[in-house]
Amino acid sequence: MKNNQNVLITENLAIGYSGKWNTKFKLQNHLTLGLKTGELTCLLGPNGCGKSTLIRSLSGFHRALEGSIKLFDQPLSGMTPAEIAKVVSVTLTEPVDVGNMTVFSVVAFGRTPYTGFLGKLKYQDLEVIQRSLENAGIGHLHNRQFSQLSDGEKQKVMIAKSLAQETPLMFLDEPTAFLDFPSKIEILQLLRNTAWDHHKAILLTTHDLNLALNFADKIWLMGNGMPVVKGIPEDLILSNNFGKYFDKDSTKFDINAGSFTFEVKEKGKVQVDGSGLKYDWLVKALRRKGFTIANQVEVLSQLPLIEVSSGQEGTFELKVAGSVHRMNNIQELLEKLADLA
């Protein structure tokens, strides 16, 4: 398998639920999507817009309401579970509770589509499992009890299971939820390397927008009642799509920083003079507290003026109403500003 090959294509796909009397609750309509090998695709969107339903539909758990899903030009609806199992592997949000089982045995589940009648592992299977454990970075955990692992380690085990399944397509539903920050990064790095080096098409859902912007090759944005937008992260930022899909009254997408800003009560306007790291972080702190920064520094202005110098002592100099205060850190400065107000 090489990179940049089409693995999955949907045409005019509608997803959702069918209820009684043939009624249909469509969550998304007219989806024309594609996944290629060697690419990590992140599916972003607010809760309830149909992210999990899309993953479930693409992996054959749910019947598509309309349209078609094709895996390697073969319609998904015509494939048996055994055939799908060799093309698509999933990692779901549902907790896995297998009782008494070692990590090795859990990863060995990935070989189920390939083993014989009794599911006995052959020598090749053992090799694939070993390799999957190592590629997922959990080679040392093989003999540990699965139930005793941390959430991040469990997630890696399930990814190793998917690797052992040797499918060109990997779907992961919120693989980074409930993980601490370093574990989130580790998981996304692992997935990106898997996509790039092992020529997999990986689709994952996540709420970690910043991580998605940093790791995704492609992003699909999904919203309630809005069409899905696809593209590489930077293009989506430039076209201001993030704002459209995520803006609420209290959050705004800052197109310069590539991250969200949050509304805060206005406290006043200040001038800041200086440069460098200390200047940058001071501006961030002032914005967080609700101060607006004046565009230009004018000595004669009535606004408080903060001067940032590079020295160790008295780094921050606050000039307000004729008096001058020297402070060593931002906390002192913010407290002073609060006193004066």
Binding site: E94, V96, N100, T112, L118, G119, I129, S147
Partner: protein
Amino acid sequence: MKNAGEIYIEGNKRQAIKLFTILILIIIFFILNIAWGSVFVPFPEIIKVLTGSQPENLSWGTIILNTRLPQALTSVLAGAALGVCGLMMQTLFRNPLAGPSVLGISSGASLGVAVMMLFVTFPGGKFVVLNQVLGNFSVIFAAFAGAFAVLILIGILAGRFKSSTIILIMGIMIAYAVTALVSVLQFYSLKEDLQAFVIWGLGSFANVSWKNMGFFSIIIVAGILLAVSLVKPLNALLLGENYAQNLGISLKKSRILIILATGILTAAVTAYCGPIAFLGLAIPHLSRNLLKTADHLINIPGVILTGALLALFCNLIARLPGFDGALPINAITSIIGAPAVIWIIFKRNEFRVQA
């Protein structure tokens, strides 16, 4: 440094040794079952009987060959069957409390037996001696009919509902309803018939005569073979139904086959031995704990062997020389099984409150 695969294979070898140890224990308990009872038979005489030569006392031959030997064999078969049923139910419903009785299958069998015993009069006359009753094929047939009526109902539900939990709840409801029907039947039945039915309900491994042994063992072996063929879907179901499906398992087909295998085994055991309480629930816990694995490729032999051993043990206790005749097997299975399960749960750290 050994790699993970080698360690995995070594683990399998250790489990094989454990299983072999249980097999030896089964042989020991089998012999004890034959040797021990309310009538004392000297050991050399037992050997004589078993090797086909004439014992000193002719009644010893009858006791051993026609009472103790079939009883021990029935214990082995019933214990193995109940263990396999319990394991399959616990995996399918992902519930450690599931057992062959929860789906109402044994209640269904009871209903069949109740209808036959309490209301149908046979040309042969009233049933007083239980052996006679079970010798009658129609009672066995009634048990099967009752069990399968419930089974088909469950099967239809299994196809229509996605979640196994829903099916489990339905099964429990069906069991309640069927049990209630049985008590209504009991209320309207004659005293002598009722007595025979109540004794059947207490459970016993002593009711399968040589005449019925062939049929009984064929059904049990067939049911167990069907269960063995389901090892792969059972294992995949450990991960949950969605993961199982993604591993290429056809959920609907597997679910129906698992329920069918359980139904065949439960119906056979219930028909011949009465509704045996608790063994089905306790055996899988014993096996999993002993073998330290959830893998069905190891646990199916595991429950077959621990089931046979536990049933032989219970049967032995029920017939200890101190007790006159034999205690009802249901009393023994619960007295032994309940503390065993409590002990297992107590030993496992993850269930305990962290101090």
